[in-house]
């Protein structure tokens, strides 16, 4: 697909943990182990997985907040990993982040107006009159559901949901093409979470944004995404359309994730309680050979130890499992 806005090829993120003692081997944590995907204009791709699966490292590497150790990130036809600092700074106009903890990611010494206006100041300090900047900030505030009279307040005076609205306004004030959201609703209460998900979905449609939506909450991800990518230990297990992923999950890990969600309907929950996945996730420093999921997979066989399963098409989805067809037939 050449009309993709973002095309990620074999992206790797590693963290050097130093030597194991003075003479020990170098230890490397493989946070993202060769991830590839494409994102079309106006599309939302959900990225899910449990803690340590590499989803946040992937998001941060795409934003170039964490150095990638290999691969390509092609954004609007250019490889972001080859840009120097100033060229990358220019691209940030089109590539904006929204973070998990809105209060921690907003400067406590700046007013709401300053926070939202900061990107405009950084990019148009000489060309945009102060008055116009203020008008743009006010328009953005209104758009995300903040009141004009809140412009001189400080972030800590707001509740979590309101603070996340400020974070969204700051990310969108430059009218970016791509917004990378790292767990944007995980810290919010249920009643507020749905407000923010609706807001992001509306803004995406109005502004034609592409979204990467990283989260561990499958139901929220399913709600907002067109396609969903499931990560485990830094590898893609499955990449599929949202409905296909939830109605006919192909990978054993995807199935385990879905089966573990408690059903908010007591009768159904009593009949089918959330099913735990046995075992503990392996260390990303010494990942298992072959398929990284094999140590917890109920269907693992000899081949899974020997051969890394490639991501391949099975019934319209992309799946990294040697036995996907067989397991789906069951």
């Amino acid at each position: 697909m050449s009309n993709a806005l973002l095309s990620v090829r074999d992206l790797r993120v590693q963290f050097d943990l130093g030597r194991d003692g003075w003479f020990g081997a170098r230890r490397v944590l493989h946070a993202v182990g060769g991830v590839s995907f494409e994102l079309a204009r106006g599309e939302t791709l959900g990225i899910v997985g449990e803690s340590g699966c590499g989803k946040s490292s992937l998001a941060r590497a795409i934003l170039r907040l964490t150095p990638a150790s290999g691969g390509q990130i092609s954004f609007q036809g250019e490889d972001l990993l080859r840009l120097d600092a100033e060229a990358m700074r220019q691209r940030r106009r089109a590539l904006q982040p929204i973070f998990q903890d809105p209060l921690a990611s907003l400067n406590p010494r700046m007013t709401v107006g300053e926070i939202i206006g900061e990107p405009l100041r950084a990019f148009f300090s000489s060309t945009m009159p102060r008055d116009e900047r203020r008008q743009r900030v006010l328009a953005m505030m209104q758009r995300v559901g903040l009141l004009p009279n809140q412009i001189n307040r400080y972030a800590h005076e707001f509740s979590g949901g309101q603070a996340q609205r400020i974070g969204i306004a700051r990310a969108l004030v430059l009218e970016p093409e791509l917004v990378v959201c790292d767990e944007p609703v995980s810290a919010l209460d249920v009643s507020i979470k749905s407000q923010i998900i609706n807001l992001l979905q509306d803004l995406q449609e109005e502004m034609g944004l592409s979204l990467l939506f990283v989260a561990h909450d499958l139901a929220a991800v399913r709600h907002i995404s067109h396609r969903v990518m499931v990560l485990y230990l830094g590898r893609v297990m499955e990449l599929a359309d949202r409905d296909a992923l939830y109605r006919a999950p192909q990978h054993p890990y995807t199935r385990a994730l879905i089966a573990a969600i408690p059903d908010p309907d007591p009768r159904r929950a009593r009949a089918h309680p959330a099913k735990p996945l046995g075992g503990e996730p392996p260390s990303p420093v010494t990942p298992p050979s072959g398929c990284v999921f094999r140590t917890r997979c109920p269907h693992a066989r000899a081949r899974c130890t020997e051969e890394v399963p490639a991501l391949r098409s099975v019934g319209g989805s992309q799946v990294a499992c040697h036995f996907a067809e067989e397991l789906t037939a069951d």
Partner: protein, 332 residues
């Protein structure tokens, strides 16, 4: 469920004196907890749910003040001395916290922390305590229990640490376990492990559990009875089916509808509750939910509705008496 109440909370107020003024974390709370039952306390941040749990063991911060009554098997706990509370804490009633990493002491080996309660309350010998600790770690399905005793908390995964916390809570065979968001910090597959474990242990030991959570899915699966809190008040309580199928409070109903579900269409918008939760330092005079409520009436601003019987043990604190299900979806 037996009718024997372990805990009777009556007209309990929980207040904190702070630089921002008086924070009312709990107002007029009434709740019974019976032997062997599983009670879910649901609410959002700042609803006062955790403070209610802490109040049951007199663990609120120093600037806090309790008024009203909490009786444990007839013994009044409000105003009880340190010694009296100390005899109950960890022995008859124990607690599981949200984040096992901060609740466990990073400097002490698992074995030492596990057996502390036993040695304090039961004067057990070290060898007997260690044997009991191994038995408890086995009960929570931790592999290689003998080796775990000599490990430090950082050597275990989040799920394993929470199992240790549960083993610690169970070691004196308490009648009641208080659990404050015990699965919130865990991944969903590990959460399912812990829920299954709590269910199993409750059947095996007959322990009553009060679990505070914001996750209605967790409550639906595991609770017998549910209390819904908002702005420091219990606004509705009843059997789990009362709350999920016959809810009569607009807040409960809004909360239930706001959960994203796996089977939903992308085009459908999520139902929301407009506005923001109240500040416990500036609660309105009437119903704390009134400013966000779709069924708001003038009366709601003037006075707080009391908990009234709907049917059986189902109670709600709301003046509105009409149907909630037919109401238009509230969108924001």
């Amino acid at each position: 469920m037996t009718s024997e109440a372990l805990i009777e909370v009556r007209s309990l107020d929980i207040e904190f004196t702070t630089p921002d003024g008086l924070v009312r974390a709990g107002t007029g709370l009434d709740l019974d907890i019976h032997a062997g039952e599983f009670v879910g306390i649901v609410g959002e941040s700042g609803s006062g749910k955790s403070q209610l749990l802490l109040a049951l063991l007199g663990l609120n911060a120093k600037n806090g003040r309790l008024r009203g009554s909490i009786r444990y098997r007839g013994t009044e706990l409000v105003g009880a001395g340190k010694n009296e509370l100390g005899r109950i804490r960890g022995d008859r009633i124990s607690m599981i916290f949200q984040d096992p990493m901060t609740a466990l002491n990073p400097h002490l080996r698992i074995g030492r922390q596990l057996t502390e309660g036993l040695q304090r309350h039961r004067k057990t010998t070290a060898a007997a305590a260690r044997a009991r600790a191994v038995e408890m770690l086995r009960a929570v399905h931790l592999t290689e229990p003998e080796r775990r005793l000599d490990q430090y908390p950082h050597e275990l995964s989040g799920g394993m640490r929470q199992r240790v916390m549960i083993a610690m809570a169970l070691i004196c065979e308490p009648e009641l376990i208080l659990a404050d968001e015990p699965t919130t910090a865990l991944d969903v597959t590990v959460q399912a492990q812990i829920l299954e474990l709590l269910q199993e242990l409750r059947q095996r030991f007959g322990t009553a559990v009060v679990m505070v959570t914001h996750d209605l899915g967790v409550v639906a699966q595991i609770a017998d009875r549910v209390a819904v809190m908002y702005g420091g008040r219990i606004v509705e309580r009843g059997d789990v089916d009362d709350i999920f199928y016959r809810s009569r409070h607009p807040y409960t109903e809004g909360l239930r509808r706001a959960i994203p579900r796996l089977g939903e269409d992308r085009a459908a918008r999520l139902a929301t509750i407009p506005g923001n939760p109240p500040n416990l330092a500036q609660l309105p005079r009437g119903c704390p939910f009134a400013p966000r409520c779709a069924y708001h009436m003038p009366r709601c601003d003037a006075e707080m509705p009391t908990l009234e019987t709907v049917a059986g043990t189902h109670r709600k604190a709301c003046f509105y008496d009409g149907p909630l299900a037919d109401a238009p979806e509230v969108l924001a």
